[in-house]
């Protein structure tokens, strides 16, 4: 029986009208629980409650636990038909060549299981067999997610058949109506390609071929043509140099295609002959602090106008002309010093000029002819820069005037690299036909009607004549990853030819180049030398008019545009290795910037300052060249000539790059008339820029025992104990060398049996080029961490190249200043002053990696013995054992240990190459990818030394000297790094341990490292 009874607690409940009470009854709590106080109003409705959160947390924990109970099922998929050459686990090397219009080199490509993972120098190649940092990094550019995956027509994906059909129809229509079509390529010193282009032009007579370099060497080409009758660049052999005078030429950088550091380094290593040491003398006259300037014995900061005058004065001095110069005392003295050195060096002296000025270049050639220099090779010149600025200017005028109906671009991005790209873009949009051969959807490709997706150079064929008579072959090292075709194949197709580019190369080479030599052998070697008959006939040497042209002076500030070691002309902007590569001079990564001298910075109110955590901040400056204006961050650069500012090209590209890589400012709009020197107005702009600089201390503070150096005079006359003394400590009131076993806390472990690896770094030969840094990244799977992490000093580079400036004019001056400090007050002020680099400092580079101490401070403090020592001298790091206490990093006197603060792979927060399947293909399968919370460091490439040992065991033989290599020593074309087994008494490295110049870093700490340095000797004559 249903009851009608109703219980009540409160008389109000009987009132059915009372809505508020009814609604209260529905709720559990009278007031809303304060669970969502932090949530904003809008999120309120959907915000998760505490209970939901706990439910979810509980469920996910349980799910994760259950999921973890069972191991993953790993599939192993063998080939259906295994290629004969590929054995899983064994690396194959292929010789090929890079020629991207900016970098030209013969290289070896290491492939594993069919995928290229590393670039190495082809040391056998006669010319350009050295890979710089960009070439080393180029393998990662192949695994770029931004690459075009197939051809496009008017923005939609098409097949190659449709693509060629449509383009051919358009070309034929244009040919029929006789309208002009221009094919613009980068410098392509490829005999077969030239042949193919000629055939293409034969079929389409309205096609013109134009060569375009983003950063041309037009003046030098013109000067050489005027003087020697051939449009090419002279080559230089600096290995025998006694005196080098470089005027605005960063020949250790990208000057005229680069590749001179190996020869230069040879001439820089002091050799003793009959008790007298000899090395080359190097004077650098320049505006920006360049790599070459940093290595020079004497560096003269000067404006571009002064450099012209310097050249004219030098010519007059050497030619014995009496002429009045408008040089100041400093430069006059420099001219005298340079002339003296050049004259005494005779044929072993050379002058190099980087000014984009035909007159200056002609005078330089005249000086070298006057000197009778044997270092300059005019008989077989280089063909690796070919663009003619005047032709490009004429083309642009015609393009804007609508006189051109079609443009085909290949390997270039003029709408990014042209100074007036905006106008050119408008003109390009009006074209009847525009075809862009490009590997990414960049500025040019994105407005082209047709976009031909091109392969990376590691997927393509190629043949090059780098230098007269010196050829290189390029072969694919992997099947094309995407649906791409190279320019030559498409041109052949459009010409109506049935052959492929590969067949064309082979038949052309067999007919014209090989002269009976084996094609297979040449392809295997990657290079071919066919010395040509010497033809260096001087056409003219009359330079009086040019001398007159050089004597102009300029008012106001000059902007000197340059290319950075890491980025070059900007082709590899989407390469995270290169973006994170610290510039050798400024040590700044992920940026370009305006370099300003301290005097100018003070005048303009520009500052650099360090934030509380040490990170570097800088002012912005407005840079105005003609009508072009941009705002760039400022770095105060010691050694920058007063009255000049520098800015790197190659940054600030926006299309075809990941958002993370769109850094820096685009300086190409200031690169007007392809002249790197521009009149400029600089003023302070608002705001502060955050730099990612990996070195926050710039000077050596008089600690001469870190980078030990001496002068050539002292080196050749004084005893080793004077200029390279081993630190001493006192024991029983007796001075003992710190290396003596008498004063050692530790017992020495016997390492005389088996291998004992040592690495020697010659500070004289190291130019700071940074090839070793990138090689180390590639070999050891070093992660990229991004700009914000670098700012927190969390860079992961196993190998860094420290760069130091002197605070006096010389490092020796620093040492004296420090030694002369008296009292506390003096020390405070003096040390404060010493933190500032000199206006024109000496510069020293010092590569530092784990020193593999025999008495390693890191090993003793590890609570879990993750860091231990091997008998072969390597300091082992067992990542799987490491628990991340970081005691080792704290105890390391060299600060070379790197901690994984985060998981840098498969983590969207670090969206670089390790976060996608394509980018991970570059990883070295022999080296583990470290996880979060683990300490890592240089292993002295133990995977490489082990590989050498294991191979020798397999073949049952002894190991020869030179077989042991590390990634860095292998990448060092300058020969600064020598690696080997010191128990092999015949080895080069064993001899270097006994060298007078040998010292250890922070020797007084007594760590007994297995890495040694060779004292830097400066040639301070005159």
């Amino acid at each position: 029986m249903a009851s009608e009874k109703k219980y009540w607690k409160n008389i109000e409940q009987l009132d059915t009208e009372n809505v508020s009470l009814q609604s209260l009854e529905q709720r559990e709590f009278a007031e809303k629980l304060p669970v969502n106080e932090t949530a904003t109003e809008t999120e309120d409705a959907s915000a998760t409650s505490r209970r939901d959160f706990l439910k979810l947390a509980g469920f996910s924990t349980a799910a994760a636990t259950l999921a973890a109970c069972e191991g993953p099922v790993i599939k192993s998929v063998p080939y259906v038909v295994q290629p004969e050459q590929i054995r899983p686990g064994v690396a194959n090397y292929y010789a090929t060549a890079i020629a991207d219009g900016f970098d030209f080199a013969s290289v070896l490509i290491k492939t594993r299981e069919g995928r290229p993972i590393k670039v190495e120098s082809n040391k056998d190649a006669a010319v350009l067999g050295s890979a710089n940092a960009r070439v080393h990094a180029s393998v990662l550019s192949m695994y770029d997610t931004q690459r075009l995956q197939g051809p496009k027509a008017n923005g939609t994906d098409v097949s190659w058949d449709d693509f060629t059909l449509q383009v051919r129809a358009q070309l034929e229509a244009l040919a029929a109506s006789g309208k002009r079509v221009v094919l613009i390529t980068q410098t392509l010193p490829s005999p077969t390609t030239q042949n193919i282009i000629q055939e293409f032009q034969a079929k389409y007579s309205n096609v013109e071929h134009l060569i375009y370099d983003a950063v041309p060497a037009s003046a030098a080409l013109q000067a050489f043509e005027n003087t020697y009758g051939q449009r090419a660049l002279p080559d230089y052999d600096l290995s025998q140099a006694k005196a080098i005078v470089a005027v605005g030429a960063d020949f250790l950088g990208d000057w005229q295609g680069g590749g001179y550091e190996a020869g230069y380094a040879q001439s820089r290593i002091p050799k003793k002959h009959h008790g007298k040491a000899q090395m080359s003398w190097h004077m650098q006259v320049e505006s920006n602090m360049s790599l070459s300037g940093a290595n020079a014995d004497k560096r003269i900061p000067s404006t571009p106008a002064e450099q012209r005058n310097f050249l004219a004065a030098l010519y007059n001095k050497l030619a014995g002309n009496s002429s009045t110069t408008n040089l100041d005392d400093k430069l006059s003295a420099a001219v005298a010093a340079a002339a003296k050195q050049l004259q005494s060096s005779g044929a072993n002296g050379v002058v190099l000029c980087g000014l984009e000025d035909v007159a200056a270049q002609e005078v330089t050639l005249a000086i070298n002819a006057l000197l009778g220099s044997s270092l300059i090779d005019v008989a077989s010149p280089r063909y690796i820069r070919q663009a003619k600025s005047t032709e490009i200017a004429a083309f642009l005028t015609d393009l804007k005037a609508g006189k051109i109906a079609g443009v085909i671009t290949s390997g270039i991005n003029p709408l990014y690299t042209l100074a007036d790209a905006a106008d050119a873009a408008k003109a390009m949009e009006r074209l009847e036909l525009s075809v862009a051969f490009s590997s990414k959807l960049d500025e040019t490709a994105s407005i082209a009607n047709y976009v031909a997706a091109t392969p990376h150079y590691l997927e393509a064929w190629g043949d090059y004549e780098f230098k007269a008579g010196q050829f290189a072959l390029a072969q694919p090292t992997i099947k094309p990853l995407f649906d791409t075709r190279q320019l030559q194949d498409v041109l052949l197709d459009l010409t109506g030819s049935e052959t492929s580019y590969y067949d064309a190369i082979q038949s052309y080479w067999k007919a014209n180049i090989l002269n009976g030599a084996s094609w297979n052998q040449t392809l295997h070697d990657g290079y071919f030398s066919a010395p040509t008959a010497a033809d260096g006939a001087l056409k003219t040497i009359e330079v009086s008019a040019q001398l007159a042209a050089l004597s102009k002076t300029s008012e106001g500030m000059s902007l000197v545009l340059y290319t950075k070691t890491g980025m070059g002309d900007g082709q590899q902007g989407n390469n995270p290795w290169l973006q994170e590569f610290p510039d050798p001079i400024t040590r700044v990564s992920w940026d370009n910037y305006l370099t300003v001298s301290r005097a100018d910075a003070q005048r303009l109110g520009l500052i650099n300052e360090n934030t509380s955590n040490g990170a570097l901040n800088g002012s912005y400056a407005t840079v105005q060249v003609g009508d072009a204006q941009l705002t760039a961050p400022v770095i105060i650069q010691p050694g920058q000539a007063v009255g000049t500012v520098g800015l790197a090209l190659g940054y600030g590209e926006r299309l075809g790059l990941k958002p993370e890589m769109q850094v820096g400012v685009n300086a190409y709009p200031l690169f007007q008339n392809f002249d790197p020197v521009q009149e400029v107005q600089v003023s302070l702009a608002s705001g502060t820029h955050e730099f990612a600089c990996v070195q926050l201390h710039n000077t050596l503070m008089g600690r001469g025992d870190i980078v030990k150096e001496t002068t050539l005079e002292v080196f050749s006359t004084k005893d080793k104990s004077y200029w390279n003394a081993v630190p001493v400590v006192s024991k029983n009131h007796m001075e003992q060398e710190v290396t003596s076993s008498e004063v050692d806390m530790w017992q020495e472990f016997d390492r005389s049996i088996g291998h004992h690896f040592n690495l020697s770094i010659d500070l004289n030969a190291c130019t700071g080029c940074g090839a070793c840094v990138i090689a180390c990244h590639a070999e050891n799977n070093v992660p990229v961490v991004g700009k914000t992490e670098i700012r927190k000093s969390r860079d992961m580079h196993w190998l860094r190249i420290d760069r130091y400036y002197s605070s006096e004019t010389t490092f020796e001056g620093d040492n004296q200043t420090k030694d002369n400090i008296a009292g506390l007050g003096d020390s405070l002020t003096t040390f404060g002053e010493m933190e500032l680099a000199s206006e024109n400092p000496q510069v020293a580079f010092q590569p530092v990696m784990c020193q593999h101490c025999n008495h390693a401070p890191c090993e003793t403090v590890c609570p879990v013995a993750a860091s231990s020592h091997g008998r072969q001298g390597q300091n082992h790091m067992a990542y799987n054992r490491c628990v991340g206490t970081r005691y080792c990093a704290n105890n390391c006197p060299y600060k070379v240990r790197r901690f994984n603060w985060f998981l840098y792979n498969k983590n969207d927060e670090f969206d670089f190459h390790m976060n996608n399947d394509l980018g991970r293909m570059v990883l070295n399968p022999d080296v583990v990818v470290r996880s979060r919370g683990v300490m890592e460091k240089c292993s002295m490439c133990i995977q490489m030394t082990q590989k050498t040992i294991l191979d020798a065991k397999l073949e049952g033989r002894q190991i020869k000297d030179g077989e042991f290599q590390t990634a860095c020593s292998n990448a060092c074309d300058a020969g600064a790094m020598t690696f080997g087994d010191i128990n092999d008494k015949e080895s080069r490295v064993a001899a270097l341990t006994e060298d007078d110049r040998m010292y250890h870093l922070l020797e007084h700490v007594g760590t007994k490292p297995n890495v040694m340095y060779q004292v830097k000797v400066r040639n301070t004559e005159a």
Partner: protein, 426 residues
């Protein structure tokens, strides 16, 4: 899995018998001496390209004498290409049919040899005589039956004895009751229950707790240490590949298929073209069967068909179709990424048998992980195993110096530095 293997072993005996029956048909062939000689010649010269009943590289040979004249066959076998050149219509027809692949010439065969081969191709073995085989089977298995019978008899005797003893006791009790002897159960004094005594004795409680803690810690440790250790892992593979048949019955050397173990860190799973080196001719399975597990001849033959499907081999035309789909094997031996292991160094330099780590692979119908593959397992072996320094020039100097230092003739891997962290972890 190991249990399964044992089962296979127990079955081995009857299976062997079964095969001995099959073999008896082979013996019968020797009754015809021409066919027996022909079989030998056929296997030596023809079997690479021809089968009796089936098309292979060349046509099936059974009944070939019906199709062609004997004289024609003599000249064809001795020099086929000459006949094709001469334009013999039959010869050209065969040549065209088989993708213009010329047959090897066999000038060394005499007409008599060829007769023998042809006799073999025509030989039809008589139906096996079951009556002959039956008593053999009974006779050979009688031993085990007798054993079982004796065992059963003994068990019966034992049971009778137990029952008798029980009955005797019962009878004795009854006699005692009848004669007035009171066999009352002893009155037990009241004692504290054992559990109370246990609880009251604090020392024993303490000891027990310590024991329990220690033993649970022992088992917990044991449990945790086997996490991630997949010993005995025997996943089902996309193709039932029997190492027992290949490495066991057919004695194929491990490194014939796993050739990269000689030169590389990986032993390598053979690519399918390696399989086809043999399986181009072996299209069906004719070996032992394991009926209990369903491993019949058809089963194995079907697995070979899977291989053909993967590699894209058309049996009809004896050619590759070009349509292949790689086999996704399940990897059994998985080392963590942070361990470097090199097969070539162990197999080639160290001359270690594959079986040392992988177990009796030649007996594995289904491949499984034999060893634990833990670091302790590696280290133990490195401590015990001597380095193979003989006739390896690499070790000449280091062996001399180290053996002097340690005062031993033979060096273990550990003494060579094989226990250092960085030798395997980088």
């Amino acid at each position: 899995m190991i249990r399964a293997i044992n089962r296979v072993n127990t079955l081995g005996f009857p299976l062997l018998l079964f095969f001995s029956l099959l073999l008896s048909t082979g013996l019968q062939a020797q009754d015809d001496p021409a066919a027996a000689a022909g079989k030998k010649l056929f296997n030596a010269n023809c079997a690479a390209c021809h089968k009796l009943n089936k098309k292979a590289v060349g046509p099936a040979l059974r009944g070939v004498t019906d199709k062609y004249e004997k004289e024609w066959l003599y000249s064809w076998i001795k020099n086929s290409s000459a006949m094709i050149k001469a334009g013999d219509p039959q010869a050209v027809a065969v040549w065209e049919e088989y993708n213009r692949t010329a047959m090897n010439s066999f000038p060394q065969l005499s007409n008599e040899d060829i007769d023998n081969i042809l006799a073999y191709t025509n030989y039809v073995p008589p139906a096996p005589v079951a009556a002959v085989a039956a008593p053999q089977a009974v006779g050979s298995s009688s031993g085990s039956v007798a054993d079982e019978f004796i065992l059963a008899a003994l068990a019966l005797v034992f049971a009778i004895l137990v029952i008798m003893l029980f009955l005797v006791q019962k009878t004795l009790l009854r006699i005692a009751a009848a004669s007035g002897v009171d066999i009352a159960p002893e009155a037990r004094p009241q004692r504290t229950p054992i559990w109370k005594a246990f609880v009251q004795n604090q020392f024993v409680v303490f000891c027990t707790v310590v024991f329990l803690l220690l033993s649970s810690a022992y088992f917990a440790y044991g449990y945790l240490m086997q996490v991630g250790v997949d010993q005995g892992y025997a996943p089902i593979q996309p193709i039932h590949y029997s190492h027992k048949i290949h490495a066991g019955a057919n004695q194929i050397e491990c490194k014939y298929c796993h050739s990269s173990a000689r030169v590389s860190k990986h032993s390598g799973i053979p690519s399918l073209n390696v399989c086809m080196n043999c399986h181009k001719n072996i299209a069906e399975y004719n070996g032992e069967e394991d009926l209990e597990n369903g491993y019949t001849k058809d089963f194995y033959t079907n697995e070979i068909k899977k291989l053909y499907a993967a590699v894209g081999w058309d049996e009809e035309t004896q050619s590759y179709t070009g349509e292949s789909k790689p086999v996704k094997w399940v990897r059994i031996h998985n080392l963590p990424d942070f361990v470097y292991f090199n097969h070539a160094q162990h197999v080639q330099v160290g001359q270690i048998e594959c079986q040392k780590c992988h177990g009796p692979v030649e007996e594995m119908e289904i491949m499984y992980q034999h060893s634990t593959l833990t670091m302790g397992w590696c280290i133990n072996c490195h401590r015990e195993t001597n380095v193979q320094v003989e006739s390896n020039e690499y070790y000449a100097k280091i062996h001399e110096e180290l053996s002097k230092k340690y005062g031993v003739e033979k060096l273990t891997v550990a003494q060579m530095g094989g226990l250092e962290c960085g030798k395997c972890h980088y």
